[in-house]
């Protein structure tokens, strides 16, 4: 029996899309967990940052897209600064957010923001939120 392995078969389409959008090689990650160890909001995430990139490595992008973690990443770049393999994980998170919103629309529609909070938040928070949670 002849078995042929083609790169297209080994690299699922969605994984390739995440890699292209983020400019990152997700297979470079060797799962040391340093990103999760230093993440300042790991405590409220449903999946740890290294688990999200593991799902993408395995081609289970659909599961990564349903994780709350991609919305909890504030792009503080602590993980990117410390990754021994040079993976810029916040770029992967942003690619996943874009993919999720391309399918489902705005994650947080602006008209759902409470008026009293809008009066209190710094403009920078509102604009930053729009950039990350709307499509």
């Amino acid at each position: 029996m002849k078995v042929t392995l083609l790169p297209e078969g080994l690299r699922p389409a969605l994984q390739q899309r995440v890699e292209e959008a983020s400019g990152q090689n997700v297979l470079a990650c060797y799962q040391c967990g340093k990103c999760s160890a230093g993440c300042p909001v790991a405590g409220v995430m449903d999946l740890l940052p290294n688990q999200v990139i593991r799902l993408v490595q395995l081609g289970l992008v659909e599961e990564a897209l349903t994780s709350q973690t991609i919305w909890y990443c504030a792009a503080c770049l602590t993980c990117a600064a410390r990754c021994p393999k040079g993976v810029d994980l916040p770029r992967v998170m942003e690619a996943l957010r874009e993919l999720a919103m391309e399918r489902s629309g705005d994650h947080l529609p602006p008209d759902r923001l409470p008026a009293e909070a809008l009066a209190e938040w710094p403009q920078q928070a509102v604009i930053g939120g729009f950039r990350k949670y709307t499509w």
């Binding site: 959008a21 792009a75 947080l108």
Partner: protein, 295 residues
């Protein structure tokens, strides 16, 4: 760097609204040191966050337009807000190093730009050019051992290769500047970690998780006041203290100021327009006790 020409300065949208006290105090500091800031004419919003996906060129057009305007005014642009600094500096770096993207963005905004501009943060200007020695000489009300926690946050430090002007894991510039003003900066961990950023827009719980870690360390170090150079850090660290005080019996609230507010007062400014009454943890009792504002 005394009595030089006014330096082109980008305030950004937050410094015109919620953080007007930061804008006013930054201008005070530079005027007191003989290098006044001149607001860039016709500026627009920088976008608040740097786009992280490769093909998102649209979000670069806003900051690129600012860089083009600034280049018409000179070869340097001073920025106070850490977020604006981060976005403008990263955009400038990208336009300088990626010819293909530069061409596309320039075509879109119908402008010529070659990246020949330096985006500088005011902390770097104060420390490296004006100098701690000059600050020390210009003091009118030295901070006299005030125990200050210098908080750097993310945006001045990362990514170090593009924005960093200080040690990314162990920054010192803000501490040294405050020490020059007579303060006694306290040593504490998490000074370069995230306050929660814009996460509060979606989840207060997440913002609290991040800012609490920083504030507990600051409180444990015995700081009397925290200073920052980012309106979002100021907001998160200031606003979350009521919730932390409810959760942690031993937590002692500590006022959060922009570093220019403290420095401006030390350099003799009267604090007019600093909007100290808008801070959640009232800094005025401490500032009065220290003789930095009129009682």
């Amino acid at each position: 760097m005394q009595n030089m020409e006014a330096l082109p300065y980008f305030p950004g949208c937050t410094l015109k609204q919620r953080a007007a006290g930061f804008d006013r105090s930054a201008r005070d500091v530079f005027s007191a040191l003989g290098s006044p800031l001149a607001e860039l004419p016709g500026w627009n919003c920088c976008g608040a966050t740097f786009p992280l996906t490769v093909e998102n060129l649209l979000d670069l057009t806003g900051p690129a337009r600012i860089l083009v305007s600034a280049r018409a005014e000179g070869t340097r642009l001073a920025v106070a807000c850490a977020a604006c600094y981060n976005v403008l500096r990263r955009t400038n770096h990208l336009l300088r190093t990626d010819a293909e993207k530069r061409e596309k963005v320039c075509l879109f905004i119908e402008s010529e730009y070659d990246g020949d501009l330096e985006v500088v943060h005011i902390l770097e200007l104060l420390h490296r050019e004006i100098g701690c020695g000059h600050v020390r000489q210009a003091l009118r009300r030295p901070l006299e051992g005030l125990r200050v926690a210098a908080y750097y946050g993310c945006l001045l430090l990362r990514p170090a290769a593009e924005v960093g002007f200080d040690d990314p894991e162990s920054p010192v510039l803000l501490d040294e500047l405050l020490a020059a003003a007579g303060a006694a900066p306290v040593s504490y961990p998490h000074r370069g970690e995230c306050c929660g950023g814009y996460l509060a827009v979606r989840s207060e719980e997440a913002a609290l998780e991040a800012s609490k870690r920083v504030l507990m360390a600051i409180s444990a170090a015995g700081a009397e006041v925290v200073v920052t150079s980012c309106p979002l850090c100021q907001y998160n660290l200031d606003r979350r203290q009521a919730a932390i005080a409810r959760q942690e019996a031993g937590f002692r609230p500590v006022p959060v100021l922009y570093f220019t507010q403290l420095l401006g007062l030390a350099l003799g400014a009267d604090g007019a327009g600093y909007r100290l009454d808008e801070h959640h943890v009232d800094p005025r009792p401490l500032l009065k006790e220290r003789g930095l504002v009129e009682g």
